[in-house]
Symmetry: C5
Subunit: 340 residues, 5 copies
């Protein structure tokens, strides 16, 4: 929530509208300034176009687009409200796909979520980014290749390529998490004392949030697979299966990390108990040996006038013998109890 | 339970019956005094009307309404008994929807539940509130707009709008919970000592009760989506999907808070163990160093007549050396064990 | 198990066979002595009858009934064996429903389970009680009402009314449990020392047993709803939905209590740890302050002939200053560690 | 695994082949020596036969049988390999059912598992036992009864009777477990110190293994119920439902025991914590009272030449007053903290 | 990940391409050097062939094969990327099966995962190994047998045999895990102090990873069973059921080990608590007895000039009586509290 508002506070750049018009023999790139420019592309049924909008701040623009393509008002709401769950929604002449992108520069604590909305019809693909990101750069390159499948296969394949690019980013996130867990694993296994429990707690929270962002992808893809919408072609199903497998793989990986973290927390508690046991044993051994001895020494420090032992010549050496015998007996007792 | 009875004790106001008669070109508001006034509206098939009843105390009134609209006796029972689970029930010429509203002024501990029953037929929508609440104010405004969809689309859409208004309230509750959890999170992470465990326990109970109130919404909406009742139009399905997504989002959010609370409780226990370990180490270090020294001092406090060391000139300084050596040895031992 | 045998040991009263013959215009009550009296009722297709058998001890009687109505031997076994799970079983011309009644006089520990078997055909309803109980009293009254639905609707509706009466009893049990949990909740939250853990453990066991008795009701009702048996009428489905909702409500309530008990047990453990921490801190603070002081006092209690400090005039007051300084330093140290 | 090999080491008795040939009017018993004797029975379509083979050691014999009845090689493998999961497999003219028998002489730790394979066709039932057991004795008696259903109903009913006999044994096992859990329950509730945790751990393992042996029965019976194989008659479905109910009942019973054991383990841990708290309090109270007193006594045991208090006449009684005051203050402090 | 790269670093051997051409009356073995040699085999529809490729390093080779057999690019990706989940994918004229092989020389910590990809069409089976392994040796032998089913049944049966060989390896792994868990079980039950918690933690992680590799096999086989692809013959379904049972058996075994490990960890914690309790009791008993005695001795070590007891003749023996009485009283107190 705070993230979103923060973004809103930042400089509200005019969104960039990149349009790529393409066919099997055709490829063109335009920077759209006015939405009127879009109309001729919409009417040309022999070519497809991809329009990438780099920001969702300009509600006016989005409303205009929605009128042009007769987009459902709830879809507009979904596009502009960045707290949506990933989902797929079918309409008569287009399909709406909403997914979450995850990215991070360096560490687990800086993981950012960004909502990507994709809308595809017979001859167009629209993608809305929350902020201008370079995630689709690679796709632009592939599109320029006249022999590439993106030029030939339908707009559902094009959408698959976009979603696949987003899912590929998840693997980086997963590796980041995996490395972090591995680090704590090492620290705890080596019984290091500088383990920061708070950070672990924080990372577990992050893990849960990431899972919540990826989990609905399963249902999304599942619906996609079962869809009988004319825009979704049977022959492209293999590609959808592919991103399904990737999503499951990532979720299983996250689950594995989660279980490892739980298991680490448990191990840490056990280590604490073992350490405490050791501390207690030390205290008990020392106390149990010396407290009785001190008592005996205390007895002969009393100032009674009549204390026969005090006068006996061998009292002192005999007492030392008693001290040593008691100590030896105690040590043997503790040894048998395996407290050493 | 106690809540309900409490309400019953309170002043039993005469329920307010607001009737809104509307069509694409028509909008009228009435305050119904006598149910006889309702009949003409029931017979006009070209107009729809919405009747909002602000209280369910007046059983007589509800019985009369049920006769007018031939409502099933079990539905009457559901409307008047406020401990029902959310549900949808289909009848020949109307559909009954029962949902739970949650609202709170300030804090998690003041969250109130209120049951809202909605009954819609071809040309009417009836809504029953437990107590007069202003939750539908915004809807009244939207209804006055002659171009609004509420005037055009069917009574199932109208019901969607009512349910949507109720679900929107859940988000406020969720934010309240989220803030509270965040507060405890901070307190525990900063190792503050004033964490009130009892309040946390109480909040976990509240969380479970809220979840129990929202959870059945999933099944309700799922049945709605699959319904083949003529009153439920295919084309309005997108709206139902929308509240389904919202419900899932809220349930996932609650689950996240629940997990965070569990994880916090675990962290708190671990912190307690760490603190206890530290306390124990302090005790052990001090005891282990000074108990043997005290014993030695005790020996030379004994009053035996024959104790050669007592007479030796350098006994006292030598003993100090021994004291210091023992202490240094102990400190080194503890340092190696990382007890410092 | 032991319960059953206990009952068998008790006085084996002759079972009471109450027969209620009824039609829309007809109501008669008989006490059947000889099963031969039953035959005319069986043959009258224009009237229905309800036969309530108040005991299942008389196997002879049950065998005779089973012959009269050609009941499956496994059903006879189910009726007489009181350790069955709730279930519904369909046969060609009758349906067998087995449910569990729960009742308790005062406390959770006295909850009793009783098996109620119901068998209904086109024009008869048979109910078998384990012991004579007054649970169906209210139904007898309703049956006498000539306008009541029980006289008009089919034998499946009659069975619904019987099952509904049994399920209504569950709510009482649930309230009993809820009160008990509330009591422990208060005791533990107020940190009272007289919390009886054994009773809590015992109640958790009871809760599990109750849940096991109610849980199969879900499947039973689910089968009932999906049944296409001619004896089960579509139009009575609303009533079945009603008891389904009640069952789910009770199961959710039990689950809530179970979770609260778990959460209480956890809270109790945490409270124990907090208390132990406090005890440990007290011990450590006192020991850590006085053990070193005692050592110093011990030193100057030694009897060496050469100890310069002993002769120095200001030794004693200086030592007091040292004592006080050490104590102040320790207190400051513990204060910084927040052990006070 | 080790169990199996152990058996193999033991004396490999020649398997006993009991053949019971029966029809509605016919009953004969043979001890088969040579498999050739089996052929005439196979050909007589008016009679059925049950062949019980008391051992699976003689692979030669089993291969010959499999040839005679054209059994699938994988079935032969299943029969001879005793680590299979319970299952049902349908073939063109016979059905293969594999179940696990559990039996124990006295205690939970001696529970034995034995695999029973049953193969039934139109006019034959084959049963393979791992070792000669008397589990089917009762069935032999029922078979001799010319009016019994086993003589009339099909081979699927016969198989039901065999499986039912095996499941009935489970109830004995369950009672054994229930008694054992009850014993530990008593021991722990009464806070006895001789609770053997290792045995409890061992029993939990046994419980898990038993559950794993019974759990697949659910799927087996579920497949049986849904089967459309001509050998499985609709009218015998009631019997299958019966063993399904029994299996579920046993699994629920095991689950209850498992939960009780978990809850007991938790209770035991809490009791340990309570005891430790009590021990700690005793230590702390004694130490906190006497350590400061000992320090004061130590002070006046010092041998400084200038210690004014030593010469004062009332020092000693005043000190006693101080001792008593400190003790009273401490006791009051601990009382207020509820450490007594 | 690291594992894969490690392998890549190692010597990149030229992959071995073993081709086995076979029919009911025919068997030939070739070592393919050039893929051109493959073409005649592809065209002979009366014979089948199995091509085993011992390495996936040579991407060039795999691309050529894919062209020859028109394999989908995503399949090529799956074959060469060794971090895939087990899966089955159907294409028009071939089916792709990807499974994970697990093997280990000696210990749980050396368990290796290897990806095996199998592609089968009407008359060919292709298998890709990550590294040259001898896992299929036994299959080569069976293939030489002219009466073997592998020569007669379809390529789906051949694939079953390959997958079965891989699953058989799982049993070895499972036994390895079972032995390891058994070892820890013994160590902990015998309360040995050298239990290595870190290794247990590590093994739990390994267990989870193994489970993740085997778990998707269930879905794979489930899809295989439900498949209606012409290459998959109904009559071979029994074999698929067989590997399904094996997979479930292994997963249940792993789950059992996992539960045992959890239970062991819990037992270990309880043992630690018991030990700590014992240590605490020892300390408390010794301290509680001797601290008050030492205090008394300290009193009579004070040097007050006026202490009447000091001069009394019987003070010393009387004090000894007091010492003994206090000790006896304490011992009795502790005995009653069962601290001995």
């Amino acid at each position: 929530m705070s993230k979103t508002s923060e973004k809103a506070d930042s400089f509200m750049s005019k969104p960039i509208l990149e349009l790529y018009s393409f066919g099997e023999q055709h490829f063109e790139k335009h920077l759209i300034q006015d939405l009127e420019e879009l109309k001729p592309f919409l009417e040309r049924k022999d070519l497809k176009f991809w329009l990438n909008i780099s920001s969702i701040q300009d509600e006016d623009l989005i409303l205009k687009i929605s009128e042009l393509l007769s987009i459902h008002p709830l879809v507009i709401e979904d596009i502009t409200n960045t707290s949506q769950r990933p989902k797929i929604e079918e309409f008569d002449d287009h399909i709406f796909v909403l997914v979450k992108m995850l990215y991070s520069k360096n560490s687990i604590s800086e993981i950012q979520t960004e909502q990507i909305s994709i809308l595809f019809g017979q001859n167009y693909i629209l993608s809305f980014q929350e902020t201008p990101q370079d995630i689709f750069d690679n796709i632009r390159v592939r599109l320029e290749n006249p022999k590439g499948k993106m030029r030939k296969l339908g707009s559902d394949y094009f959408t698959y390529v976009l979603v696949d690019a987003i899912i590929d980013e998840y693997f980086g996130i997963q590796e980041l998490i995996s490395d972090t867990v591995e680090k704590y694993d090492d620290q705890i296994l080596q019984n290091k004392s500088n383990v920061n429990l708070n950070t672990i707690h924080h990372h577990r929270k992050t893990l849960r949030k990431i899972r919540n962002n990826i989990w609905p992808m399963r249902e999304l893809i599942s619906l996609w697979r079962k869809s009988e919408h004319p825009l979704i072609k049977r022959k492209n199903l293999t590609y959808i299966n592919d991103i399904y497998e990737h999503t499951i793989e990532i979720l299983e990986g996250l689950e594995l990390q989660r279980e490892t973290m739980s298991s680490l927390a448990e191990l840490y508690m056990t280590q604490l108990s073992i350490k405490q046991n050791e501390v207690m044993k030390t205290l008990t051994v020392i106390s149990t040996i010396f407290i009785p001895l001190t008592f005996i020494a205390g007895i002969y420090g009393m100032n009674f006038q009549v204390m026969p032992e005090l006068e006996w010549k061998y009292s002192y050496p005999v007492l030392w013998v008693i001290f040593i015998l008691i100590t030896l007996f105690m040590i043997r007792y503790f040894k048998r109890k395996k407290w050493f």
